[in-house]
Symmetry: C2
Subunit: 516 residues, 2 copies
């Protein structure tokens, strides 16, 4: 039983458990998230395929235990989908044009992973262990906008999120209060409890007499709150107008920010997500062979053999006691191997997310100066789906917006445009929310993950049946080959998945080596 | 009509208005919040009473216009209620013991103003103009706790806010959906609109079939989300248990974080709120006379005369063309003057908030390491009222919590304790939420604003009648004396109030001087 399981399964109060654990010395000095494998003389040679986060973390932990690691990385850079676009970043998508980023120094776009949830212990742990400062990633900002393109009196104009939120909370609370008064409850509430619930709903929705919603100061004011005059807040939107204008569409729902993985507080490394990659490279960067494209993987009678194409286009062979394969499944699919049919089917059939982003550099932070938007996300039913405002560099002059971050068919439509047309459409759609786009835009960098070489997808997008059919096999060794990466976890798309999987395979290998 | 009024009152679309303003050159190059008074040869001597934010900003703007300013400050420091407690900070409350802060270098407590709302344009403007970097102030964190002391199965234990929020949104949405199905609506909704509203409520509350709430992944898991196993979230709390445990009490309502002035995104200066004071001091610090206690204020036939007690206890006289009095009303009340009866009544009768804070330094950030709490607020119905987690220095070793921030009678009860007993009670109550208090505590610094010399209150706490009777007179000149400070605005307790009022009096004086 782990310390954590003990804490959670105990019927004792938290305070008592904590006091006991503390007294027993169980809590100190181990920092949260430290890996507790014991180093011994029994080690081995481990070949790691892919120098993304899973590969880097596995190498880092194995080296601590005395193993000899080699990392093969197809790209000229490490980090995989931990990728921060900066001045000079180059990329050519499959079938695409060569692109070079012209962002100003100090400005960047996290093209892949961008957020760290507060309960992703390992992501935070490695930032702590590698001394990477963290700052807040703002996922929800009431000052940002909703923009519903379509019909209705509230459509086709930016609406402050605070206005919709206040109104919808108000109307919802009013309806809920009605249901209580109708004594139409499945749950039996005493009249005293019902009164407490109504008092809560009045506060939750800012209801007035008769438990009606009639607007709220929470909606804000037509202009900045004045100093010397009492101002009336803008009147509430009528509920039918909200509905007919499309503002109840899932595009505008709060689900994203309510979900366990996107609730506040979220964090990000100061200076870009690639700070994490650079920190791992300081530890294990010397073990990486770049431009090494894995072509074939074979379990031998003992150990593994991997063939890869090196940076001069020649095929090279390498052997090791064990192999950790972190290749995304669309890449594994292309590799020749004697791996099991189960593994090969997982590589063939687990779907990957189609997703894209664009970074738009502007010469002025009009979203901060004119709109009071510091970080957060505006949402729309247009193809751009959302606009992210930077959570760093507040009040600086220039800044980079994430002009779209979209998925599925919207991502495909953008991906299929030329770079110039992606930029043009991002500016056209985003310009409906921020007319300042027209005069402030400087340059862009866009990407479609399903067209990025050596990734060919955003993340493993398991459906329930895939999870049943293909997932379990990825957790076990296939001969001497182990699989790691977010696709071998339930934490898909998250760095924490890469880290958790790296620790799983390190533990599996270490236990096997000790048992030998 | 101001630019902003034009934008807001126009019936044109925002885009069209913006394009027009832009074409007319109305928008550039003036940065948001710049003060647009014209400098001329007509100026004068202005005596400013109080070197808090209102006084500093007024001096800064007047000096730009060529006026000759003198600031009298009773304390040995500038900033007033913009006060950051650091290593070595000293204070002795009225009737209290001398206190010296022993916080570690780099750690601090914002004892007064701590948050900047995203729409407080002037607060943000001055940070921009004075080149003070801003970072996020986290006001709401789903990972923090509610702790209801009292009866009920959920009382007397820390409950993750995310659990309560998910459950209450779920039950509220379920009730609201019931009301719709009961066709018991005042607002007439078409059946198509009603279905859209129900779809929204299902998403809002994470409802399952029959629009029932049965728990949600939003509540999180008993332990960190695992990598390789699908886990069931902890089951929902029963609504009657929530109610009977006191968790619908106003202490736990979302009103604070919903309100216009406390919605995300909030900001804070990097390094402490006193960075703002230091920046103003670089501009006008040489104009301040410290330890100058204002005792008498007289309008003369022309100009003003002020008597103050200087740092050697002697009474000194100073005259000027105009005076800006930023003394908090409890201080003005003690001043002898020939000011109007209306002003004197305002000073006598406008109530001020009783409020206190304590900073608790801990040798380990257990709230981050053990609880995954990065910034934000835990709330309780105990006297401590709330615990604030620092929004800076994430993953550092040590940290300072705001162990209480309370108001009214709770603040009075804490204020009336000795420093040692305040600390003891803060640790005892907070320790129920964080048992780690017992082993990690290092030192504290506490304050009660109503006992702090030269403030004697948190902020002007106007009731409706006070606003009618006493407020209007504070906006007008009394002879050559003008009044500024948060108490002369509707932005009470906010730095933006101090700034708005400073600009109001600078404008009033400048216009009068130009008209002379």
């Amino acid at each position: 039983m782990t310390r954590r399981e003990f804490i959670n399964q105990s019927s004792l109060s938290i305070g008592a458990v904590y006091a006991a654990l503390n007294a027993w010395g169980f809590i100190y000095p181990a920092p949260a998230g430290a890996f507790d494998l014991q180093k011994t003389d029994k080690t081995g040679k481990v070949l790691i395929l892919g120098a993304g986060l899973a590969g880097l973390a596995a190498a880092y932990e194995l080296e601590k235990l005395g193993y000899q690691c080699t990392l093969l990385e197809a790209r000229t850079r490490a980090g995989g989908r931990i990728w921060t676009i900066r001045e000079g970043t180059q990329e050519t998508e499959i079938g695409g044009e060569k692109q070079i980023a012209h962002f100003d120094k100090g400005l960047y776009l996290n093209a892949g992973a961008a957020r760290i949830p507060n309960h992703h212990e390992l992501s935070i742990h490695y930032c702590r262990e590698l001394k990477i400062p963290l700052e807040v990633f703002i996922n929800m900002n009431e000052a940002a906008y909703f923009y519903a393109e379509g019909q209705g009196t509230l459509a086709n104009q930016p609406i402050k999120i605070r206005q919709l939120h206040a109104d919808l909370r108000g109307y919802t609370a009013e309806l809920a209060a009605k249901a209580i008064h109708a004594e139409n409850l499945d749950a039996e509430l005493s009249s005293e409890d019902a009164e407490k619930l109504i008092a809560y709903l009045k506060a939750e929705g800012d209801l007035v007499k008769n438990n009606q919603y009639q607007g709220s100061e929470r909606r804000g004011y037509g202009f900045a709150f004045g100093a010397t005059a009492a101002e009336a807040p803008a009147p509430a939107f009528a509920l039918p107008d909200i509905i007919k204008s499309g503002l109840l569409h899932p595009a505008f729902s709060n689900v994203g920010e309510y979900t366990y993985h996107q609730q506040p507080t979220l964090l990000q490394p100061v200076g870009g997500m690639d700070r994490l990659v650079e920190a791992f490279k300081e530890k294990v960067g010397h073990l990486i062979t770049y431009q090494a494209e894995v072509k074939e993987i074979y379990n031998l009678e003992s150990g593994v053999k991997v063939l890869f194409q090196n940076n001069s286009g020649k095929t090279q062979e390498i052997t090791a006691d064990y192999c950790i394969c972190t290749l995304p499944l669309p890449m594994l699919k292309k590799v020749k191997s004697n791996l099991s049919g189960d593994i090969q089917r997982a590589a063939d059939f687990v779907p990957y997310m189609k997703t894209g982003k664009i970074g738009l550099q502007f010469k002025r932070r009009f979203w901060e100066e004119d709109d009071g938007i510091f970080g957060g996300i505006s949402k729309t039913n247009m193809d751009i789906t959302q606009i992210f405002y930077p959570s760093y560099g507040f009040t600086n002059s220039k800044g980079i917006l994430k002009g779209y971050y979209n998925f599925h068919e919207r991502a495909v439509r953008f991906a299929d445009l030329s770079l110039a047309d992606r930029e043009k459409q991002a500016l056209a759609e985003g310009g409906k929310i921020h007319p300042q786009y027209a005069t402030e835009f400087e340059n862009s960098f866009s990407l479609a993950w399903h067209k990025i070489p050596f990734s060919e997808g955003g993340w493993a997008d398991y459906k329930a049946n895939d999870r049943k059919l293909y997932f379990p096999t990825l957790l076990k060794a296939d001969g001497a080959v182990y699989f790691a990466g977010e696709h071998t976890t339930y934490l898909n798309a998250w760095m924490a998945g890469a880290f958790e999987s790296a620790r799983r395979v390190v533990k599996q290998i270490h236990e096997r080596v000790q048992a030998d």
